[in-house]
Symmetry: D2
Subunit: 341 residues, 4 copies
């Protein structure tokens, strides 16, 4: 039997960090070394997440690079702007870094600074960072040292659209992407506008036209399909804990029929362990919650000659920790599905 990889998590007390821990409970080849969480240092995992009672003895610690370097791989699950301060030193000391945040996703510094609204301090590492959209970048991921894990909304939109663009099913311009997300996507923080009373029994669009996932989606669609794309992206907050449902309108190319759409998905996803697609069943969030699946459904709408594509993921799994572990597995030569079934 193969040996374990030792891993540490920085920002381990957030929802993505806790989801990584849950996955590692059933991962046969991971040994957790350190859980860093400055704001919760000294507390136990079960203090914050009671379902872990009796499962982990470890306590959160304040971050130090020396402690982090005791492990083979370091997962960063940090607010934007923080990973860029830690990743360079870890890489210099030979560690493999999996960043769940947005610091290394955009290749274009100007776009980063426009959408994330602060300066980038590790621009030299942007080019080498490997974008971890597993199904489309597997070979590069296997040899990555700095893995930049995709955002939650981007994962759901990109997996639905790339095959359709690449196979010329739909036109790459004027894509309309609307999506709704559960509240865990906003992270574990004491924000007044994320309180139960504010979120419950309501719904709203937010960051219309200025969300940081917008340039990420555009970059990935173009990189993996080879075509210039233009798109609108409107995210909505809805009162549920987990899950993203993304509804996409795209103009069909001429003479495309349903079988062509299916063929495009077959060509790219037929053997993918974590993608389920159908021309009959429309995805629902409850079908993917607590799983690493992406569910995709579609319908041709002749009136406007558009394809309507809908995809669903669990924002903490395929949209964060699940895909991060999928990528980690590839980086360390472990079966891609380990810990994720």
């Amino acid at each position: 039997m193969r040996e374990s990889v030792s891993v540490s998590i920085v920002g381990a007390s957030g929802y993505s960090g806790a989801e990584l821990l849950k996955i590692f409970q059933r991962h046969r080849f991971v040994r957790i070394e350190k859980l860093f969480a400055n704001s919760s240092a000294g507390k136990s995992v079960a203090d914050l997440y009671p379902h872990f009672r009796g499962q982990y003895e470890q306590r959160y610690e304040s971050y130090s690079i020396d402690a982090a370097c005791a492990s083979d791989a370091v997962f960063l699950a940090l607010p934007s702007g923080e990973a860029m301060m830690l990743a360079p030193d870890l890489l210099k000391r030979g560690k493999k870094v999996i960043d769940l945040g947005g610091d290394f996703r955009l290749k274009d510094v100007a776009q980063y600074e426009k959408f994330y609204k602060h300066e980038h301090h590790a621009t030299a590492f942007l080019e080498g960072a490997v974008y971890g959209l597993t199904e489309w970048n597997r070979e590069q991921i296997k040899t990555a040292t700095l893995l930049s894990n995709p955002g939650c909304y981007p994962t759901s939109a990109e997996l639905a659209l790339i095959p359709l663009l690449k196979e010329s099913i739909v036109q790459p311009n004027n894509l309309v992407i609307t999506a709704m997300s559960g509240v865990s996507g906003a992270g574990r923080s004491a924000a007044q506008d994320l309180s139960f009373v504010e979120v419950n029994e309501s719904a709203k669009a937010y960051k219309v036209g200025v969300h940081q996932h917008l340039p990420e989606i555009k970059q990935a669609l173009e990189a993996f399909s080879g075509k210039a794309a233009s798109l609108s992206f409107v995210p909505h907050l809805v009162p549920l804990t987990r899950g993203i449902l993304t509804t996409i309108h795209a103009s069909l190319n001429n003479d495309v029929r349903e079988t062509d759409v299916l063929a495009a998905f077959d060509k790219h996803y037929k053997n993918e362990p974590f993608i389920r697609y159908s021309n009959e069943v429309m995805p629902e969030i409850k079908g993917v919650v607590h799983t690493n699946f992406t569910d995709i459904g579609f319908r041709i709408y002749e009136e406007t000659h558009q394809l309507i594509v809908i995809s669903a993921i669990d924002n903490l799994m395929k949209g964060a920790a699940g895909q991060a572990v999928q990528n980690f597995n590839l980086m360390f030569g472990i079966d891609e599905t380990e810990g994720l079934r």
Copy 2:
């Protein structure tokens, strides 16, 4: 002081019926005559809706036309296909009918039968039925005898779009309308797929491309803007009780600026008591729940030269009972806002 109008409700035990009752509690010029609900005949209002305890002595009764004709106005809050069986006789006996269902909304019988999936048995009444989109059809409503109250999704989409089409702010083709609705929109019935466990912590699109509100929206956009329209409409079910949030993408006409959009809304809605619009505040469902307001917000998105318009209503108020009372008030010469503040 003016005299009361006596009203009866057919289908009074459903959510729209109960909402009518709630409005009538604060309406100074309505006297409730009969509450018809065949499935709940003999039960009291408070048996079904405990918040009415001690408020209404009346019990639900089985429908009879003679009993119904004791009142001046009859509200029909029935499943599709039932109102068409009752309205003709009521009209013949001189009653004013306000139909909250879909039976008299579509002028084109073929469209009705295609989308509602059953035959229409009162086609002679379609032409005379007045579509009750209050803000756009006030004069006709005042003299209507058969008032066809708009659907919930259509109300939210039409009120947002008509001024923009009419003032040539956006192009009328390829409109993309996605919307999410609370569960009360599906009515009060014992459906397994509307049970708490099925709906909670999930979300899904449904009836993609085949929802009966699709032709209604198209018909109203064209009727009130005078332009041929094409559109896609994708409704979603989300886990909340009340409210609709509609997100619309439309292609901007050339040289349109934000002030032009505002001017279009000003022109048509400046003095409307139940429409609030803004270029700064985006609507949220919690802003309109339990009110008769329609909230509209918008943003110009230059990348795709589109206007993103978002509107919110309470599906049981402006999307059903509230707008029905607004129309009823007009039909009986009562101040339009009576009972609705």
Copy 3:
């Protein structure tokens, strides 16, 4: 027609403050003077509560006693410890004060300091403060200058129990009171443990044996029934926005029958406008939400010779702002139900 009373609210940006505003919208004899909220000074009401858009022009201001004294009555809706710093000066300047918080509820300073965990700085005012359990203290309330409005849990427990104790239906010792509350009861603050993700899909008991409402309930039961009482009180947090459901077990006195229980409620509540009781219908939260009603139901359980009494209120209405306005009406000679129907 009678003249308006001018009122100001201190702590107007919280949920109780917003509920007062909503009540005042339909109150014919109130003129709102000032809305004080230091943390939200400069913001408009609609900035925080979008349903108020277009309803109130006023903005929140920083508190000053001079500004507050421009009104006849001042409502204090503040965290514990703050009202005691403001009320004395307002009273000295002749204002009537309605305090929705806990600072003046307990007559015994030692109990206050034990359960609220800080010193009391206005002990001279405790004796004169009138406890605003409307149905049991009406005459005193009419002449009160410092009105101490009951807590939410206490209101639901006391209204259910006092008639039963006073009429010797149940024994006053070893009362077991368990209750569950919606999240708005915890106030409008950015607490991590009140975030949607933490509260949703969970439930827990909290402050077992140390909740500050425990001594308040005991004091009121004893004051209004004239009997020494002992009780346990266990509150629970459940995932809903509004409402309290309280379940009480009390030992029956000998030979008590159901008709005796009903007679006790009849004797005290028969003509109460805001209390509904029944030996047939058990209360549910949805029956009282957005109303000022207290619903009470009961069942004799012979196996343990106990009476099980259940009561439901809306924590923001009868449990806070609604009862406060009921008391305010009495203090100013206005019909008690004004604004509350």
Copy 4:
């Protein structure tokens, strides 16, 4: 490696059936033979539960005893009254039966017929049925052929109380048990009162004094503690999908201190894999959801000389399918925790 046990599930389309399937996905020694569900015969598992897409090929079938007898063990997950019609024949043909329903829990036929409100047709099997409260009946369970799995509320109440009764920590009379449950406890059916709109934003007590779990709790407390018990039990429905939280008041025996309570739990549960208890942490539903754990917390309340004990379980796991598999494992000589970690 040991051989698999082949199992079938009757009533496989309900929530407990689906939970069994989920557990069996990670159980190394189970082979699913047949899924019986008359009302869903012909449908696939994924048709009803989309998260199973691509996981199970099997379809639901109509029940036949011959088909059922192809497996070694048969799980019955049926409404009350149905298991008693099937179990006798299965037992006669040598099958081991695990009944998740209530048909074989009560030893006293009169109590069954009083609380379940219909006749019992297999009374000869009541004595031989083994009550599957795993932690208290392990030896009998190992040799059981008809295993009667405890109810959800009973599991949470009994596990909390039995050690306290057995070790004379609390008095066995006048126990007050209040509990709240998520909606999945009511099963998967199209009941109007379980619809999202009815349950959401409300809470209520139900079946006060007449719930069928009442005699079950009494019987188990007495059987396992050896003491006559009397108790009240009030269940509540709250708006969440899964989980039970039970709050118990019991009179302390003299001179009992906190260390004695802890010692009682230590004595019986120190090495139990699925029970976590504490004098510091109070259980919350989110700590046990999707696990087989029972969490127990307690506090001595001196004012009334009572012990307040709170326990939490997932009603579908330890309260149904999880405990059923725990018992199944014992019956077939498999490690008790298999499939449940």
